[in-house]
């Protein structure tokens, strides 16, 4: 049962990653190249010659990008399936594909959007190399605390739903999440190190591309996993009133 869900989640992740790759290649790579062009201009001005490349740009922007997205997609799909197995029928009593969609949407907000609002993505050459430790630590911390805040909000929201009904309870739970991550984001250190002459259009396009890639990936994972779960129920369990399912 869990194994089947896990496999379906990871397959959904693979397909979603291929779609996200197409988006990333079309909209992300041009912005990333903009950052590298800025880097090259700086190096040329300083009279430096480019060092030896371990992996060529051609590989980085195609196979490397695809593999990175595939692994990320498999992780998202797999974790989504595990969370689905944990909440379906317990926390959420929706049709399978609705649960999958709701979980993917919440996942996008909690894992991608909220950490991004505090620590947005940066194209190459737009951040200082020697702060990688600080930036990695704060980013991971923001991500983890966003997940913790979501878990707390769900636990609180669940009780509030019992007392004040679904609409009010869910809204109150969402408010709990917003307040918690707001406090966390306000307390974590500010990272502000984009060079003054870094092209604003490149930075903007790059960050929009990040949100777009994740939007494509998480939407596809949620919808495909929902489809696979619904299909699986129909073929293996075949409930008598199948029309109501999904």
């Amino acid at each position: 049962m869990v194994r089947t869900l896990l496999v379906r989640g990871m397959i959904a992740g693979v397909v979603a990653a291929v779609l996200a790759f197409a988006f990333a290649w079309l909209f992300g790579e041009p912005a990333l190249d903009g950052g590298i062009a800025y880097e090259g201009a700086l190096a040329a001005a300083a009279g430096e010659t480019g060092g030896e490349e371990l992996v060529s740009r051609g590989v980085q922007s195609t196979v490397g990008l695809l593999v990175a997205l595939l692994i990320y997609g498999i992780v998202v799909g797999g974790v989504l399936a595990l969370v689905y197995a944990g909440v379906q029928g317990r926390l959420l009593r929706l049709a399978p594909r609705a649960t999958a969609g709701v979980l993917a949407l919440i996942g996008y907000v909690v894992v991608v959007l909220v950490p991004f609002l505090k620590y947005p993505s940066n194209p190459p050459a737009s951040s200082a190399d020697d702060t990688i430790g600080l930036r990695s630590g704060t980013f991971v911390f923001m991500l983890l605390l966003s997940v913790v805040a979501a878990v707390v909000a769900v636990a609180v929201g669940r009780r509030l739903v019992e007392r004040f009904g679904t609409w009010n309870g869910v809204l109150a739970g969402a408010a709990v999440y917003v307040v918690l991550v707001g406090v966390v984001a306000a307390l974590l250190p500010v990272v502000s190190e984009t060079p003054a002459d870094f092209p604003a259009v490149v930075l903007y396009n790059f960050r929009v591309a990040t949100l777009g890639i994740h939007a494509v990936l998480w939407t596809a994972v949620g919808l495909l996993f929902g489809l696979f779960v619904t299909r699986g129920l129909r073929s293996s369990e075949r409930p008598s009133a199948g029309a109501g399912v999904g």
Partner: protein
């Protein structure tokens, strides 16, 4: 059909906790380790030495929003 989304769906099996926990632990650890490798390794921290992995997933790391270098 319209009310299908909000009504309890009797035919949906609930996964027993006893069955879920081992899967969640083992698969969860493996999946998160993969996430670490693609998102963070050979940046601030390194499990594998060198920067081959970092360079290979470079574009994905930047575009997914992980701190890269």
């Amino acid at each position: 059909m319209a009310q299908g989304a909000s009504l309890p769906v009797a035919s949906v099996p609930v996964v027993p906790v006893r069955e879920l926990v081992p899967w969640a632990v083992f698969a969860g650890v493996i999946l998160l380790a993969l996430l670490y490798l693609v998102g963070l390794d050979q940046g601030a921290t390194s499990v594998f030495s060198g920067s081959m992995l970092h360079e290979f997933v470079h574009d994905g790391r930047h575009l997914l929003g992980f701190p890269c270098h």
